[in-house]
Symmetry: C2
Subunit: 412 residues, 2 copies
């Protein structure tokens, strides 16, 4: 891809932001702010979001979940059935259209249960697991911290349906493992954290927290097992165990809930067991904030010069700068593309200094520079963004070197 | 993929629907209706939508457009700037939240121009073309015809930005070609039809219409050139030319608009020319209804037994039924998957008759049946959905035959 044909605008005039991710993503042109808590994902930012989506899609499919896209616009009747329309906590965050008859659903427990009520007959139809990627809306009065807490955001939500609690417990653990694997693939080590059920359920739930000094959450965790408790539930932990825990700031990137029959019962989602007796289906719900995870990756992977993406979610693998008057850059761009490397050739008519500074700001894993000097030596200058290490690579070896690096980085 | 692990529910009890696409998509479990004009895309339907998206993405990238995801939730101020907030025609369809301060934008002329106002400085920054796939909401009082006219739907929208009308005209023709190519790839032959500008513009626009007896539009067209006029503008065509036109029912699947400076002017989207003089940017907007195109494909490709997908958008290439007690079906499913063929193995514990009927209803291009009889002959029964032609293929040749067929079908 050539930068002159790709839409990226950096911002030099940026006012002070309330978070690192807002500052860097706006400055590097990955996002653009429309209103409090509302962002457009510009082309570079959207590429990262799609890579995060694809990682999660693969992990959801691996545990047997089917992808769909549920309606966002929902009639108030199904929300009244579960009592959530009347619930002041939920109503405070719900976007309702001006007629008062429909909402833009921030979560899909009701609708998924409603769909399955007409589809599930017997125990043979279960378990079922359905997931989607969707823009959600939430009337967030405290919208802040860039992509971390918004009024419009991308979510992956998963709902599962089981004959009993035992089968649900089994799947719940599978999801927990899949979540930690997905987060790890995008560069996020997560602590599995016990939390209260929130608006969704009265039982304990689990959160996946990324330890980060700029996070707005507070957790108490055991470093060895990477498990812990959030601030709300730590009071219930016995004192001797509490002593072993460390306190840390963190960002919640995912959560999983045991819902029991809270939604299936009022919405008539029943199945017949082997004896023909009707029972309510046992449900679970599981969320990952796609845009929030993107923001969390930025909070972790950055330095004074800009962004520093893990290879698995970087919008491009390599940033290519050609400081010569030749066609060497275009030629190498074509060769790398052909070899399966996503490369951005900075062919803008701007000063070399601007290109070099922007390469650090954009934060792709590798920067490649062709200059009159490297041309003479038949080499390319290679800089690894994460270590800052610079090397000269023989021109004839560069494609292999990049593809090897990409393979190695994406598999770790 | 095994059907027992994939969520599909057919509906035998379906009430009469107002359109073929609603009837077949609901019956075959591709969609589920939530309210008037609001559908969930169930796993099979979502697979088709994603294939349509990918075809369009490739054609948009081929003309140099960059993909992004713009905010849906928008402050009223940018809509007031262009006068559309006050426009009764638009207000009638706009979903506004209950505070009256934000809308869920059904189109993005305002926001795209607003974003670019801070990004574009000089003629060197232009042209720019940006596109997105997004769920749109529209307060449609006459929601009907399944996926053809809904209140919530998937759109691909593209916006382009140019120094002058001449440059825009050039790009407009490129988009028209890309649209016709994209539609053709998904099995839709379109007539390029002159139309009025509608709410977007006062100039002529172009619509892409699929001739279809069940369509709600009416066009007058010349069969040889596949160009024509819609009902609203036919009155302006001189009588001798009118004589050459044929009348037909049709479905509008895309439209393209010349916007001039209608949006750039009020939103301050200006550029400096080579002399440093400021001029408003010339804009175009271009839409394809993803879910509507899906509905149109169904209206065209169906018969009394069910759906009949073109291979390019079929959710799966092959429907595999194993009527033996052996593992032959599972083995073939694995071999086909390995060879890059999307295959659905119907391993449900239901009667053979149900599986055969559902295969026709689901409408994948090929049905493959393994029975005790074909096992004995070391063959597989192959049925092409579109022609109904049945053949026995040697077991050892089946993978090659399917991959050859797939390659040939997807390239035409």
């Amino acid at each position: 891809m050539r930068l002159s044909q790709y839409f990226v605008t950096t911002r030099r005039d940026l006012a002070k932001q309330d978070s690192i991710n807002a500052h860097l993503l706006l400055k590097a042109g990955y996002v653009s702010q429309v209103a409090a808590g509302v962002f457009t994902l510009m082309p570079l930012g959207w590429r990262v979001a799609r890579k995060i989506e694809q990682i999660i899609r693969e992990e959801m499919e691996a545990i047997g979940a089917s992808e769909l896209l549920m309606a966002s616009l929902q009639p108030r009747a199904i929300w009244e059935a579960t009592g959530r329309w009347q619930d002041p906590n939920l109503r405070e965050i719900l976007y309702v259209d001006e007629t008062g008859e429909s909402c833009f659903a921030p979560t899909h427990e009701e609708l998924s249960a409603w769909h399955l009520a007409s589809a599930v007959q017997s125990w043979r139809d279960l378990p079922i697991a359905l997931f989607q990627f969707q823009t959600k809306f939430r009337r967030e009065k405290r919208a802040r911290s860039g992509l971390l807490r918004g009024r419009e955001f991308l979510m992956k939500d998963l709902y599962s349906f089981h004959i009993d609690q035992k089968d649900h417990d089994r799947f719940y653990e599978q999801v927990a493992k899949a979540y930690q694997k997905a987060f790890k693939r995008m560069g996020l080590e997560t602590v599995r954290t016990k939390a209260s059920g929130g608006v969704f359920s009265r039982e304990f739930s689990d959160e996946f927290q990324v330890i980060c000094p700029t996070g707005e959450d507070e957790i108490y965790y055991e470093p060895k097992s990477q498990t812990g408790y959030n601030k709300e539930v730590i009071s219930q932990v016995p004192e001797p165990e509490k002593q072993k825990l460390e306190r840390a700031r963190s960002i919640e990137v995912g959560n999983i809930f045991k819902l029991g029959t809270k939604f299936s019962q009022p919405l008539g989602l029943m199945y017949a067991n082997e004896k023909g007796e009707k029972h309510p289906v046992v449900m679970g719900s599981y969320g990952i904030g796609i845009t929030r995870a993107l923001g969390a990756v930025v909070e972790i992977y950055n330095d004074k010069d800009g962004l520093n993406w893990p290879a698995t979610v970087a919008p491009f693998m390599a940033h290519l700068i050609d400081l010569t008057d030749s066609k060497a850059g275009e030629k190498l761009e074509q060769e790398l593309t052909k070899a399966g490397v996503e490369v951005l050739l900075d062919d803008r008519p701007v000063a070399a200094g601007v290109k070099l500074v922007d390469a650090d700001l954009f934060g792709f894993p590798i920067r490649l520079v062709i200059s009159p000097k490297t041309m003479e030596q038949k080499t390319i200058e290679w800089k690894e963004r994460s270590s800052g290490k610079v090397e000269l690579i023989k021109y004839l070896e560069i494609v292999k070197r990049v593809t090897d690096y990409q393979r190695q980085q994406k598999s770790t």
